[in-house]
């Protein structure tokens, strides 16, 4: 039996992480994400799993990567300033191909900003925060059940593609208590590949596009893992041809599997005159707005991105064949709107509803913006 409960968004994420088999959590307190660490500190030891509060966010992600290499399913949770500190280790996890889930409960920024106010201002940081060319997966739920399902999916994708996965949330989703249906174990997929017995050092040896197999320390043969660019054995290598191949291996494991990674929801889009593009807390207002618009005879629909990186480009492009007006709604000064603009063909009217002052959009504000476009 699934259970219906009223839970805080942060707690839904923590519960989902446990359900996904997360057995190592390292974190550092930061508003508005701390409840995730608190819940983990209470529940993890009961299950003989591991919780540790580290000395900062850099250390938290470092510990997660270490534990992951020793066979654990790991997660850390933070918000803006902590997410900034974690960037170097996100790159380390990408380079060494280590699965880890990083929750960023977004708050107003930059700098210390507004710890108790929501924002969607780290969208581009989630994509490009760490230095160097790298693939990344970022998911962003909006509704209660999605907070559970996308958290489980974040673990599955991290394990499957051997890459860090960023799970975005925001102050409203994190702090709000919501009515949620917690699904029964077994009713959702939990991906876990048994670590293979290692017999040789060529742990990164595979064809471009192939998923990497799970590689852990202490499995029969000592291996080398490096944050330096490396060859198939993990040895440091700056040979141009080797680097080319390794970069392609890392990029293509993500970009050749977009069908598996990208998930989105479409509401009332088949005959829509205005497509509202949104995600996270803004998508909640946007959904209420398109429903209200429909009641008033305005043909509006919502494209809600659940996978924000890689950007759901093909699905959105498909919609632009028929719908010629797009309204991007996001709580920042303009970030994902550039992605929309990049792929919208000429002739598509592009409008934006942007704000980063800590006040989420009301459905009425979105509705008015939709009406402006059909006037």
């Amino acid at each position: 039996m699934s259970a219906r409960k009223v839970l805080q968004g942060n707690v839904i994420i923590a519960k989902a992480a446990l359900a996904a088999g997360c057995d190592f959590f390292a974190g550092y307190p930061i508003t508005p994400s701390s409840e995730i660490a608190q819940y983990m500190s209470k529940e993890m030891p009961k299950l003989e799993r591991t919780f540790i509060q580290m000395e900062d966010e850099i250390a938290s992600l470092g510990a997660c990567i270490g534990a992951s290499l020793a066979g654990r399913k790991t997660m850390t949770a933070t918000s803006g300033p902590g997410f900034s500190l974690m960037q170097e280790h996100i790159g380390m996890a990408v380079m060494a191909e280590v699965p880890v889930v990083i929750v960023n409960v977004m708050r107003g920024g930059p700098s210390t900003g507004m710890p108790t106010k929501p924002a969607q201002s780290d969208m581009m940081q989630a994509r490009w925060g760490t230095h160097g060319d790298h693939p990344i997966i970022a998911l962003y739920p909006a509704f209660a059940e999605e907070m559970f399902s996308e958290t489980v999916r974040a673990f599955n994708l991290a394990e499957k593609y051997w890459n860090p996965v960023i799970l975005l949330s925001d102050e409203v989703l994190g702090k709000a208590h919501m009515d949620v249906e917690i699904p029964e174990p077994g009713s959702y997929e939990v991906y876990w590949e048994q670590p293979r017995q290692i017999i040789d050092l060529n742990i990164y040896d595979r064809n471009i596009g192939e998923n990497p197999p799970r590689v852990d320390f202490f499995h029969g043969y000592p291996i080398h893992i490096d944050g330096l660019e490396h060859d198939a054995h993990g040895w440091p290598s700056f040979d141009a041809r080797t680097v080319d191949k390794m970069q392609k291996l890392r990029m293509q494991k993500i970009y050749q599997n977009l069908d598996d990674i990208i998930r989105y929801k479409e509401y009332f889009l088949d005959d829509a005159e205005v497509l509202v593009f949104s995600f996270g807390i803004s998508a909640r207002s946007a959904l209420a707005a398109v429903k209200a618009a429909r009641e008033q005879g305005v043909k509006a629909g919502l494209f809600q991105a659940l996978t924000v990186w890689p950007f759901p480009r093909a699905a959105l492009q498909e919609r632009f064949k028929k719908t010629r007006k797009v309204l991007t709604v996001e709580m920042n000064m303009g970030q994902m709107k550039y992605e929309v603009e990049r792929i919208a063909p000429p002739g598509v009217e592009k409008q934006n509803l942007l704000r980063a002052n800590g006040m989420p959009f009301s459905p009425d504000e979105v509705l008015n913006a939709i009406k402006e476009m059909v006037r």
Binding site: I52, E55, G62, G66, F217, F218, P222, I225, P236
Partner: protein
């Protein structure tokens, strides 16, 4: 093949270190300690950060992890918590451990997590070409102290003692057998251990301070170091430029962190262990 050689990954040679570098001695002494304890190479993980010391794990035929600058201890903490029964060794240079990684160093000591740290003190950022480090002696010339260093250096022994580290020792690259002994002893210690190894960077520190050959620089290390008993006889003024050697702290009373977590916290959380005091 000598018994310690099975812990060396010869196929990754040559090393990036300059001829005469003390890192080779340290590599060998660690491998010798592994051999004397007769450890399975797959039961060991050697973790390092960035710098000349950061490249050392590559040359051990154990599990090895080359991480980010100063953060090796954080990765090692994750590994040790995930697999407390494994030997987790961290190799770090003075810049890596006491500048960018200084915070992780004192917290690992405070937690007493069973990581074995080898802190190579050559008093300089060698890999980047010879910039001042928190362990560069005062008045020394470096690429970023062209008029002499005006900053005092950390005293690693006192720093770690204050942070309640349960094993603190210092040795030099001049004394291979003593170094191997101390490293081996630290591997047998249950809690967090640090062995500071005084090493020579004649290329990037010595060259700018009238000690450009490895021989002159190791002689300098010999002259500034002495056994603790000898050190204690000196006046405070005489002690200032000197470095005592030996094991300074070896506290087996303090419980190790993973031991506390899995044998104390887990049972309490599960409701079967002793209740904490009110």
């Amino acid at each position: 093949m000598r018994d310690y050689e099975k812990y060396i990954r010869y196929r990754t040679f040559p090393t990036p270190w300059c001829p005469g570098c003390g890192d080779g001695v340290i590599l060998k002494s660690i491998a010798m300690a592994f051999a004397e304890l007769n450890l399975d190479p797959d039961d060991i993980v050697v973790v390092a950060g960035i710098g000349c010391s950061g490249r050392m794990p590559t040359y051990f035929n154990t599990n090895t992890l080359h991480t980010t600058h100063g953060r090796a201890l954080t990765f090692a903490t994750g590994i040790k918590l995930a697999k407390p029964e494994k030997l987790v060794v961290v190799i770090s240079g003075d810049g890596d451990a006491t500048a960018i990684g200084g915070n992780h160093l004192i917290h690992a000591a405070r937690r007493n997590i069973g990581i074995k740290m080898i802190l190579i003190n050559n008093g300089i950022y060698g890999m980047t070409g010879g910039q001042v480090s928190p362990l560069t002696p005062p008045t020394f010339f470096t690429e970023t102290t062209p008029y002499g260093n005006i900053e005092p250096h950390f005293n690693v022994r006192k720093l770690l003692t204050a942070a309640e580290a349960s094993f603190v020792a210092r040795e030099t690259v001049n004394r291979l057998m003593q170094l191997k002994q101390v490293i081996k002893r630290s591997f047998q210690h249950k809690g967090f251990s640090v062995v500071e190894v005084m090493s020579n960077c004649h290329v990037n520190l010595g060259r700018r301070n009238k000690m450009k050959s490895p021989l002159v620089m190791t002689k300098y290390i010999r002259d500034i170091t002495m056994n603790m008993a000898e050190f204690e006889k000196l006046s405070p003024a005489e002690q200032a430029p000197k470095y005592p050697l030996g094991i300074f702290v070896e506290n087996n009373e303090r419980l190790e962190y993973t031991d506390l977590y899995y044998n104390h916290i887990v049972p309490v959380a599960q409701g079967s262990g002793a209740k904490g005091e009110k």
